[in-house]
């Protein structure tokens, strides 16, 4: 069957989304449509599938198939210490604030395969704050969470990570934080102690605690405006007064209801502090 024309195609994609929602409960209806479509297309291309209807059939029938697809739909490219300027800025701007608290609770919302979580753990350790921190890392995708929990990454990627780490003004040697095993680099277990990985769906689930720091980076760009608002509300509920919120480089809280409540600590690095009225 030849590729259907645009509009028809879009209907199929919507059907796929609905199928997922009905069958597995994952609600992607509020995700940004075009990026979602693109990801479905990528998935089909990767699996050499022409007909979207086949996708529907297979994903309904086979959960493993869906889990595979979930990877395409949710996980994005990431590195450790990605966007080193952010980490550098974080060190000078946020760490002093964290240090005024005897204990620190941190939430990585949408942590994917955990690179950012471990990067942050390394940074916190170097700044002497890890011990007093409790880190919660959540993502919608369970296999991503499992991957993150293991903390094993491709050894050849470590070089790139190390470069990023240096640019982020790391204080030690990047290789101190992992040891090589076969073809993988295993993150040092001392970094994992204070981290709790869990599955959490930003679309459907609610706030589960109060945090001093919430990181939700490069997650919301895939959501539509309503979902973004919802997520921001959730984040706002979960953040204490004068708590810190970090979003991705390409994201912003301007033109959202948060703008009046949060003041930017560093607008370039998208680090904000909750300082206004509720």
């Amino acid at each position: 069957m030849s590729t259907p024309d645009h509009d028809v195609e879009y209907v199929y994609y919507d059907l796929i989304i609905d199928a997922i929602k009905i069958r597995y409960g994952y609600d992607f209806t509020m995700y940004a449509k075009s990026s979602l479509r693109r990801r479905i297309r990528d998935f089909m291309h990767d699996k050499n599938i022409d007909d979207p209807l086949d996708v529907i059939k297979d994903l309904i029938a086979d959960e493993a198939y869906f889990v595979d697809m979930l990877g395409f739909l949710t996980v994005s490219v990431t590195e450790m210490f990605r966007d080193p300027d952010f980490f550098r800025c974080f060190r000078s701007v946020v760490i002093p604030i964290l240090k005024t608290y005897p204990s620190v609770r941190i939430w990585h919302a949408g942590c994917a395969t955990g690179e950012e979580v471990y990067s942050m753990a390394i940074l916190l350790q170097e700044e002497g704050v890890l011990d007093r921190s409790k880190i919660y890392a959540t993502d919608i995708n369970i296999s991503a969470i499992d991957h993150a929990k293991q903390g094993i990454y491709n050894l050849d990627k470590m070089q790139v990570f190390a470069k990023n780490y240096l640019k982020a003004e790391g204080k030690a040697e990047f290789s101190d934080y992992y040891h090589a095993k076969y073809n993988g680099a295993v993150i040092d277990s001392s970094l994992k102690n204070n981290i709790t990985f869990a599955q959490h769906n930003l679309v459907t689930d609610g706030s589960f605690s109060d945090f001093n720091l919430i990181l939700c980076r490069n997650v919301m760009i895939y959501f539509n405006k309503d979902l973004q608002t919802r997520v921001l509300q959730l984040i706002n509920e979960s953040l204490i007064h004068y708590g810190v919120l970090c979003v991705g480089k390409k994201e912003t809280i301007s033109a959202t209801f948060l703008e009046s409540i949060y003041k930017p600590l560093d607008s370039k690095s998208k680090i904000y502090q909750k300082s206004g009225k509720q």
Binding site: K99, T100, S103, R132, S275
Partner: protein, 1164 residues
Amino acid sequence: MEESSKYDQATTTYLLLEPELVKSKFDITNAELEALRTFKEYFHEEVVPFIEDFYAWMQNLPEFGMFFTSSATLDHVKAKQIKYWQEVFSAEITPGYLKNRENIGLVHARIGLPLHSYCISMNHSAEWWKNKAIALLKDPNTKNPKKVDAAYLNRVINKLIQIDMTVVTETYHKSTQNQLIKTLDDTKQIVDDVTKVAAAVVNGDYSTRLSDSQELSRAINKMIEALSNADTENKRDAWIKNGQAELAEKLRGDLDVAQISANVINFLAVYIEAQVGTFYLLEDNKLHLIGSYAYRHRRSDTVDLNIGEGLIGQAVLEKQVMIVDNLPEDYLTISSSLGESSAKSIIIAPIVFEDRVMGVLELGTMTEFKEIHLKFVETVNESIAVALMSGNNRAKMKELLDDSRKKSDALEEQQQELEKINKNLQEQADEIRASEEELKAQSEELQAINEELEEKTQALENQKRDIEEKNKTLEHSKKMVQEKAEALQKSTKYKSEFLSNMSHELRTPLNSLLILAQSLADNEDNSLSKEQVEKAQVIYSSGQDLLNLINDILDLSKVEAGKLQVEFGAISPKMLGDTVCDRVRPLAEAKNLNFEVVYADDCPDIIVTDGRRVEQVLKNLLSNAIKFTDDKGTVSLKVSMEQDKSKFTTPKLAEERVLSFAVSDTGIGISDADQKEIFEAFQQADGSTNRNYGGTGLGLTISRQLAQLLSGEIHLHSELGKGSTFTLYLPMSSGKEGEATVELSNYGATQAAASSIPSEQFVHEATKVNSKESAVEPLVLIIEDDENFRDILITCLNERRVPCITAATAAEGMQLIKTKKPTGVILDVGLPDRNGLDLLDEIRMNPSTQNVPVHIVTGYDVKEKSMEKGAVGYVSKPVKKDELIAMLDKASSAISEPIKEVLIVEDDNHQLKSIEKLIASDSINVTCAQSVAQAEQVLHEKRIHCMVLDLGLPDGNGKGLLEKISKDKDVVLPAIIVHTAKSLTEEEEKELAEYSPTIVVKTADAPQRLLDEVNLFLHKISEEPNGTSPIKRKTLSNNEIEGRKILLVDDDMRNNIALGSYLREHGLKTVTADNGELAIEYLEKEKDIDLVLMDIMMPVKDGYETIAYIRKQKQYKDLPIIALTAKAMSDERQKCINVGANDYLTKPVDLEKLFDVMKVWLYK
């Protein structure tokens, strides 16, 4: 021969010489001999042929050549033999015969003929003769007398031959033996001699020789000689070899050419016994002196020689060693410290290596050079050459090695460079890879964003459309409003025109009326009755009233049209007061009222304002007072300075000193409800109100407007039945003297129109409409059913000039809260219809009323509950006066800034002070405590809203304090912020969390957070300013240092002027001096200088001195002095501080910084 015969004789046996014995031995008879003799002739004839045959046969024998070398000898021997055989066949054995045989033996022995050869030949001969005999006998011719046979004959011959053989043999043996013995003796002798000689030779003595008689001796002599020669030869060789070895030793190692040459020449000279020597090296076809031995340069400039030049040069060409002997005396001198001599010979030896000349040696000696020296030199030539070669090679190698090392270093460097570059490239490649990844990720994100943007754009467009529509509507409305405003303006204009026309119309008949009424009242011709005069008077006064009314209306309309002229001038309040009072006095007297005028002591002489208008207002107020006061009441005017400026809203009143004109009466008073109303503009006035208070009701409105024009205010305090006081407040200077017209366009019709529509305000989703809350006048609501107490409260509030309203029930109170929006509520708990606390709850619940601060005054003991419910104050009955006052003060103070109490508990003094400085503000009152005990005390003394608590205190633990006060009923637990350097465990944190969820760890950023948290607690409801900037130094708003006097000291007046004008622009006052002396003078003259800016570099008396001098005076001990210096060195700062400056700034002065610094030091 003689010798041998001697020996022979000694040893010859008897047998051989004795014939008879021989005959018997060999058994030969005479008969036999006889027989043989018969044939003698025959045999003698055969002898010669026998000999010839014999020699022919003998020639075949190998021994023949040995013995018969010459023919002479042969002939001789042949002859002898012939004779011999003849003898044999003579057959006579005589002693002589035997003797001959003996001789033969001896001869044979002597010549050394081997016996067996003799025997062979004899056998052969015997055979021949046998044959001959046979042949003979066969021959018939032969005479055979005895008739013998051949056998018999041969037997005889054989016997004779045997005899010969035996004799010969024996003799031979003996002779040989003798010879042997002799030889042995000789040999022995020789051996002895040889032994001796050998011993000598072994000892190295080659001189001995044997006597050369013997061959052996000769041979041995030769040998000795040979040995001797060999020995000499060996010695020579050894010397040469030794020399070579030694030289080789000296040339061993890693020597350079110079060292080699030196070693060579030194060694050689010594070894070959030369006393002087030179060594030239051939370099670049030139001979260069490289070494020498005991050589003194005779001519120092001929160190280098060319090839072919001199013998040395020649040697190079010839490549041969030369010896030059017999040198002339003056050729070469060999000298030592003791003497000198001329050299006899020199050796010149070119050092050649593979046919290449490397150098030339020259050695000289006083004696002569021997062959061996020459040989030696020749021998070592090669070694030297090789050594030089090696030296050269080594040198070359070293060069090459260095070269190659350099090159290899360079290569290494390059390699490193390359490695670096490679690394860089790799890094770049990695970066590129990373960037690629990043790009990939980013492109994904960008795509997502794009999509988002698209959606947003769509949304925006929709919004835009909506906005455009709304704008259109707004435009329309605006247009409408404008039209309305215009219409209004027009109507106002018409109105005023109308009024002015009307006034004219009205005044005209009025005028007549008044004049006529007046004249009637005067009754000059007494034509009228008393009654009629009275009536006329009434007409007159009514007319007058009417006139006034008309005037007032006109004025009012003028004021509202914004056209009222105000003229400022310096007026004497006293005069003004008197003038007005004079005018109204009669009215008061007419009503039998007490009329008083009081001028307070602090009443000033001059006030700048519009006297006419003030008069108008005062007249109006006084008239009203008189009007509404009954018989026997009192009306008074009191003029004084007003101190309490808190109640004013007009800026000028707040800034300047205020004069108050208080018109009081003991009249009927005005109810609270009406108080507000009576000031309303006549447009909105309730007609009935006016009528109630009489015709001049308008006057109040006008008065109010006028007061505003004069930058003043009119306040009213009144109580029903008790009286009223209208007070006009004026600033000391309403405006600039002589200023004529004040066109106040804010006022008038446009004012009303403008306030309801926000201009140019398009609806925008994201923007906030920043509407500044207009300053609210304090208004206190008293909800108290006890009349008496209520009265007391009212009185107190009145004294404070705080407007108040009252309610006697909860319901009424609630109603009033909603409608009147009081700024403070005093609430009794025991109300008739409801418990005050319930009401409090309701107030708190209701969003529109929850902001009102409520103070509880009650006889019940409900403090805790009250505070829990959110009361801001609590006073229990019976109330003490000061408590009451405090509460009322609190209640009446402006809502926007209720004072919050903060307690800081910190034992470290420094930290305590800095936190205090940080937190203190206009709305925060800070109390400090340095111990648990102190803190407890404070908490008991007053209500604390927020407490900053350090955990480590000298008399206990902060947590202990928390536990204590939480149990203490008298203390209301404030909001707590724990501020500690201690690192807390999770347990400790949890425990503390019971009392306080806010814990701030003392770090560098803690102060900011502390401030934030304090603010958060205290301003839970009020809005927070956006972007709170970190407060680094407590600074003042500009307003607070306005008016201060600054002394500028700088020798460059331009600086003073520039700085001065800048300061003045910001409202500061300045005094300038251009030198230190002057500065001190001015300080003393102008007593109110607040701060000094002192330039350091000044002539005569420089800044340091001046500062020091100033500081010496007690009165200037605390005067802030800021040094301005062009020097930027760090010790300069210290110098300034040391000499007494409070701070310093470098020139050129950063004006903003200057201001900041000044603000700090001007803060009191």
